[in-house]
Subunit: 332 residues, 2 copies
DNA sequence: CTGTTAGCGCGTTCAG
DNA sequence: CTGAACGCGCTAACAG
C-alpha cells in the first residue's frame, strides 16, 4: 500500500480510503490511486485491515453436507442475500458429525467471523460453550430447538414427518412404514422418525415398521436395499415414508426394477422436495421445505444481527418458523 | 492472550507456543496454560497470527456450483486430503459465470490464500492476470487447458464426449443427437459439445442434431423439455448424449412418462456418473470421471506445492491427467 | 478532502 | 525451555 501511495503521490491512508466504498476521496486523487493500483497489480490485504478495523467481513456457515441439494440450496440462499453487503460466506461441511462440527466451530471462531450459522439444534457441550462465548450472533437453522443458542430459522422436522403420515392415512393407507438411518448422527433424521412414530401412535396404526438402513447420510442405494428388506419382512406394508427424497427415490427405482407398482402395490413418500422428485416418473410425493427460503431468511437475519451488533445494540433472539407443506404427487 | 498468560503466570509468547503443535514448552507449563485457556474460554485469533507469520492457513477453491454432486465430490476430496495438514479449504461458487469467478478470485486473494484452485481453463483476462501475479500456487481442474496458468488436474471433456459417441456408434446407433446448454457459460459443457460434433463428423454420422436448451447449468427439467423438442423435430434420432447426468435423467423420465421405450425407441447417455445414474431405472449409461479422485489429486498437489513454496523451492508446473471411462449401463 | 499518529494481537527473532 | 522487543499491513481517530 505504501508503494501505491508513493506512486500516486498521496499517503497510505488516502489509498486505504480510496479502496473502500463510501469514502471521501476526490475523483482526481482516486483516479490516480486506481491507476497506481492497476500498474502495480496491487491487491488489498484484508487480514491486516481486519486487525485494525476489528471486522473480518465474513460469516461462518456450517452445513451437514455439500452434496445434498437441500443444504446447498440453503447455502446459496444465504450467499445470495449477503451479496454486496460486504459480508462473505465461509462454508464448512460437518459430514453429519457433531464432533466434526465442534472442530469446525473452533476452526471458524479462530478466524473471527462476524456471525456463525449452524445446522440443527444439537451440538456437543464444548461447541455450545464456544458458540455462546464467541460474542457474535449465532443462528441455528433447519430445526426448532427447545433451548436455542440464540436465533433460529427453521421448522419442526417431527411435525413435518407427522403431517406426511396424516396425509398417507388420509389417502387410505393403513400400514405405513419408515425408512431412515440407524444412528442418531443425522439429528434431523431422528426428529423425523420420532414425528413418524408419534403420528402412527396417535392414528392407532400398526407400529414396529421402522427400517434402519445404515449410517447417515442415507443415500439412494440404501433406500433401494431398505425397501426390499421392508417388504420381505412386512409384506402387509402399503406405504412408506423415507427420511429424505434420495432414499425415497432409491426405493422407487428398486420397486420399478422388481415390478412392484408404485403407488398400486405401495405408496412412497420422501422429504425435502429435491428437483429429482419433481422430475422423476412417477413424480414423488414429498414434504416441501423451501430450502432456499430458509437460506434467504438466514441471510436477512445475519445482516440485521451483524449491523445491530456493530451499533452496540444486539438484536434480541429471533425465532423464525419457516413453512413446510405436504406435496402430494404421483407416488401416493 | 495476555490474560491467559497472566493467569498461567507466563509470558504471552509461551502461551503462543503452547497453542501450536511441535513447540518446546514443558509439560507442566503447558498444562497450566491449557487450564487458563479453558477457564477463560480463550480462542486463538488467527487473523493476528497470520499477519506476523505470513501464513493464512487456507487455500481457496472455486467451483461452478455447490449443488452438483460432481463438484461437491471434488470439494470433499480436496477437504479430505487437507484434513490435519493445517490448511483449511475456503469454498466459493461461481454459478458458471466467468465474471463472478473474476470477482471471487479477487475477494479470495484479498484474504491471502496460500494457494488457489479454479475450475476449468477459461477465465477473464483480469482473473488470469491476478492469478498469475498472486505469487501462490494456482491449480486449474476439471479440464486440460492448452495454456495452463500453472498446475492442472483434469481430463479432456471433448475427448470424453467423443468416446461416448464412439460407444453409441459401436452399439449400432446411427443418428446420435446432443442436448446441452445454449450459451458458452459452462465451458466444460461447450467442450463436450465440440467433442461430440467432432466425433460425429469423423464417424460420418448425420450432423445438425444439437439441441440447445437454455442457460447452464442445465437441470433435469430442461433435459425433459429438450428430448420432446428433439424427437418432434428429428424423429429419426435413435440416441442422445446429454451434457450431464442431470439432463439425461430428465430426458429419461420424460420418455417414461410418454411411453417412449429406453433404449428401445431411443438410447440415452449422460456425463458425470452421478449416484442418480447408478440407481435409477433403467440405469443410465454415462461417462465416469472420478470426481472425488480429482479432488484428492488436487489436495495432494496443493500440499506439495504449498510446502515447496514455503521452502522457497516452487514446485514446477504439474499436469495430471485423470481418467475417464464410458460406463455402459441399461439406457444404451 | 487529506495527513499523522498509534495500535490491532499475534509470531519472529534473538537473547538468556 | 522461556522472555522481550519489534513489526506484520492496515485502519481508527483526530487534526488540519
Amino acid at each position: 500500500m505504501a508503494d501505491v501511495a508513493a506512486r500516486a503521490g498521496v499517503s497510505a491512508m488516502t489509498v486505504s480510503r480510496a479502496l473502500k466504498l463510501g469514502s471521501t476521496v476526490s475523483a482526481a486523487t482516486r483516479a490516480r490511486i486506481m491507476q497506481a493500483v492497476e500498474d502495480l497489480g496491487y491487491v488489498l490485504d484484508l487480514t491486516a485491515g481486519t486487525l485494525s478495523s476489528k471486522r473480518t467481513g465474513f460469516v461462518a456457515v456450517l452445513i451437514p453436507s455439500l452434496n445434498n441439494s437441500n443444504f446447498s440450496d440453503t447455502a446459496r440462499g444465504i450467499g445470495h442475500r449477503l451479496e454486496g453487503s460486504g459480508l462473505q460466506m465461509l462454508l464448512g461441511a460437518t459430514d453429519y458429525d457433531l464432533l466434526k462440527e465442534e472442530e469446525l466451530v473452533e476452526a471458524m471462531l479462530r478466524r473471527r467471523p462476524e456471525a456463525i450459522v449452524v445446522t440443527g439444534g444439537r451440538h456437543t457441550e464444548r461447541a455450545r460453550r464456544q458458540l455462546a462465548a464467541a460474542g457474535i450472533p449465532v443462528v441455528e437453522m433447519w430445526d426448532l430447538p427447545e433451548a436455542p443458542l440464540e436465533h433460529v430459522v427453521g421448522f419442526s422436522n417431527a411435525a413435518a414427518a407427522g403431517a406426511m403420515v396424516e396425509h398417507l392415512h388420509g389417502c387410505g393407507y393403513r400400514s405405513i412404514a419408515y425408512i431412515g438411518g440407524s444412528t442418531d448422527r443425522d439429528t434431523r433424521g431422528t426428529d423425523r422418525r420420532r414425528g413418524y412414530e408419534r403420528a402412527v401412535r396417535e392414528l392407532k396404526l400398526p407400529a414396529g415398521l421402522t427400517i434402519a438402513c445404515g449410517a447417515p447420510p442415507i443415500a439412494m442405494q440404501q433406500g433401494g436395499e431398505a425397501i426390499v428388506d421392508l417388504l420381505g419382512r412386512h409384506p402387509e406394508v402399503d406405504a412408506v415414508l423415507c427420511v429424505s427424497d434420495l432414499s425415497a427415490f432409491g426405493a422407487l427405482a428398486e420397486c420399478q426394477r422388481r415390478g412392484w407398482a408404485v403407488p398400486g402395490r405401495l405408496a412412497i413418500a420422501g422429504f425435502g422436495d429435491f428437483e429429482l422428485s419433481r422430475c422423476c416418473h412417477p413424480r414423488l410425493t414429498t414434504v416441501s421445505v423451501d430450502a432456499a427460503g430458509i437460506g434467504e431468511a438466514v441471510g436477512d437475519l445475519l445482516l440485521r444481527a451483524v449491523t445491530s451488533g456493530r451499533d452496540k445494540a444486539p438484536l434480541p433472539p429471533q425465532t423464525l418458523r419457516t413453512p413446510f407443506t405436504v406435496t402430494a404427487r404421483e407416488t401416493s
